[in-house]
Amino acid sequence: MSTGAIADLVSVVVAVGADDELSEATLAAWAAQREAGDYEVVLAMPATATASRDGLLRAPPWKAPFRIVQTAHERSAALRNAGVLASRGGTVVLAASDCRPAATVVAAHRRFQSLLAFPAAGIGPVFHAGALRDSPFSAWLQDGGRRFGPSFPHAALEWRGNPFHAANTSIARTVYDKVGGFDEGLDGDAMDGVAFAARLADLGVRTRYVPRAMTWQDRDVTERETLRHAWRLGGAARFRETTGAGPWPWNALVQQTLERPEAAASHGDLPMAANAPGARKRRHARLALAFVRGWHDAAFESDDPSVSRAAEGPRA
């Protein structure tokens, strides 16, 4: 246990990026956790996000379990680390700002962590809420496990290996300290989570599915946003290669010439709704292309590129 950590306290660490949404419904749901025991919610946000912070401070109903931590950096890794370092609990629940928790999330993570003899990460599901699941893109992204690793509706059936995400996951604070936190040098949103998961696995920490820790993502995820994410992930993957010998899971993908995924991405001219299987194939190819471009671009660029370049067709 790290110095000062309170064994029975669960700390929910919500990383709130400068542009992230943090709805009243989400805050209310974190405030209304049932049978949760002692818990706190640490909202980690960049110092620049004064509007969000001021808005939160003015909302007394949400004041009780909440604390706000500000960082000089905007990257998710820095926000998560700052949140965890400011937290006091023996169990840490890493949560995404756009995930609205069911009333059972803290209780489920607490119970799971209390019944472990060996350290493990407890992965809770993130479902798309209501009508958002009707969007073919959302269903493809979430149900196929392309956003969070496992396919949540079937996570218990299809659990393989040690999938990890930082949107709804509990670990012991001691494990976080042993892993050394998230790598703040890694850009690309999820890549710091990928690197964190790799270090967890190196320590022999298993991941397990905790189905009662249900959360709901109310926000629709656009294809454009996903492509941007894949582009940044590709760049982060390139950076990650400088930190170890590999082989890396993306080696085969990035060793292709750019022409191949680009050809696949532009394949087919039917509208998506009229050609669902083909649309899925094209989406997959476009994500792969964005990742490969991110990987290549990272070799000679450091600035954040425009989204459109990754989302558009082949460059000249």
Binding site: F112, L115, A120, P125, D143, R212, M214
Partner: protein, 449 residues
């Protein structure tokens, strides 16, 4: 061959077709390109779909099937294939509709189609069923017994029973581990079950040196369950812990179980175990797929809705030796049933209906994996017995309306969450098809048109 009326499908798709062609059902009337007369125009598409499906080109197969369906109703088999593809793509609502429709048109629904339908049911229930039982689950969390802090007073007398059978290499260490407990056993009863490897002599010598702490009987072989029952009947304690003759306790085993089960107000429970090899060294996940699978099953006790629910589909208790139960509970259950491989799991499932178990996360039992384990080898009998037990329990659970345990793992308590967890735990092939059909119909009523 084309038929005006589809013959009744046989049980297995590899069986001879009932139409009399002499061919296998799957290559004849059960082939996805075969079907009713009105599907003739779609036959090339169905053939192409079948070819694509066989080569795992699922998107292509789906396109062919959807185009074929646009011109004529699909044969039931083809519709089931389309449902399976939709399921694989994560389109659970469409998969459910398609598979249920296929089932309604089949005289006898193949087991694989029922399993696929169960998969679609689980995909949709995952976001619904837990919310339906949220209040019950929160009550469960609030009322679960907490393990008492260390130094608690004694909670009755503890008897350790040791069934011994041909483990001469390990029985000495096993008995030493009982004698070395920090919370001493109040009595130790050993029955040798017809060993032929010299075990009785070793045990007899240890009993003679134990100053009367070990009571020992050697007799002819009668099987593990009978031996345990005889040994428990010979005890006088309030609480029983079994120790199998090839395993061992950690020194604080009895203290931990007394605090975690008896002092916590439960009438039975179990602990984690550590998998060790013949030399007592810990076995890592990488070295033993069996150990890795079992560790995952144990972790389900913490991850799933209740500890009892973790017994549906798997046995997280691993062995009779990790159990710690009250004598009255044992008597009410009538002891262990005479099953060769899964008498422990059977005991736990029956106990779950009477009382919710306590789970002690501390590992205090050393489960030895060696060349002569009962479950070792390529023998399929353990798996067959486990399947038979699970099937029987699922039927019992479905019919049970008045379990004493208010959190018993049965549908009457957990509603649709029970079926969801059973499917998630891999028990879908063992569920009664009528249960899957009923759940599917309920969901179809709930889904928007």
């Amino acid at each position: 061959m084309t038929h005006g009326v589809l013959p009744v499908p046989p049980q297995a798709r590899n069986a001879r077709c009932a139409c009399g062609s002499g061919r296998r059902y799957k290559d004849c009337c059960g082939g996805i390109a075969k079907g009713a007369e009105d599907a003739r125009s779609a036959e090339p598409l169905l053939h192409a779909a079948g070819e694509a499906f066989r080569h795992r080109r699922f998107d292509e197969a789906r396109q062919h099937l959807e185009r074929a369906r646009a011109s004529a109703p699909l044969p039931a088999d083809a519709e089931a294939v389309l449902g399976a593809i939709l399921l694989r793509a994560g389109d659970y609502a469409k998969a459910l509709r398609t598979l249920r429709q296929a089932c309604l048109r089949m005289a006898e629904v193949p087991a694989a189609t029922v399993v696929n339908l169960a998969g679609a049911v689980a995909g949709l229930l995952a976001t619904r069923a837990p919310l339906e039982t949220e209040r019950l689950w929160l009550d469960y969390v609030a009322t679960r017994p907490r393990a008492s802090a260390g130094g608690s007073p004694r909670h009755g007398r503890i008897s350790v029973v040791v069934p011994s059978h041909n483990h001469a290499a390990f029985i000495g260490a096993a008995l030493e581990s009982v004698l070395a407990q920090t919370r001493a056993a109040d009595e130790i009863v050993v029955i040798d079950d017809g060993s032929t490897d010299g075990s009785p002599d070793l045990i007899g010598a240890m009993a003679a040196r134990s100053g009367g702490r070990i009571r020992f009987v050697a007799r002819e072989n009668r099987g593990a369950a009978t031996t345990i029952n005889e040994a428990v009947a010979a005890t006088t304690g309030d609480w029983i812990n079994i120790l199998n003759s090839d395993d061992a306790f950690t020194a604080d085993r009895l203290a931990a179980m007394e605090a975690g089960v008896a002092a916590a107000g439960a009438s039975w429970g179990f602990s984690r175990c550590t998998f060790v090899d013949a030399d007592g060294r810990a076995i890592l996940d990488e070295a033993s797929p069996h150990a890795a699978r079992q560790r995952e099953a144990i972790d389900r006790a913490g991850a799933l809705d209740t500890v009892g629910m973790a017994f549906v589909g798997h046995n997280p208790a691993t062995s009779t030796g990790t159990l710690y139960f009250s004598r009255p509970l044992f008597d009410r259950l009538g002891g262990f049933r005479d099953l060769r491989y899964v008498h422990d799991w059977d005991f736990c499932l029956r106990a779950c209906l009477l009382a919710e178990p306590a789970f002690v996360p501390q590992s205090s039992y050393l489960y030895r994996i060696h060349g002569r384990n009962t479950l070792s080898g390529a023998n399929t009998a353990p798996n067959d017995e486990a399947l038979s037990l699970t099937r029987a329990f699922l039927r019992t659970a479905e019919a049970c309306r008045d379990a004493e345990n208010p959190y018993a793992p049965i549908p009457a308590v957990w509603g649709r969450s029970f079926a969801l967890r059973a499917i998630e735990c891999g028990a879908a092939p063992l569920l009664d098809a009528s249960v899957v059909f009923r759940l599917a119909d309920e969901l179809l009523d709930e889904l928007p048109a």
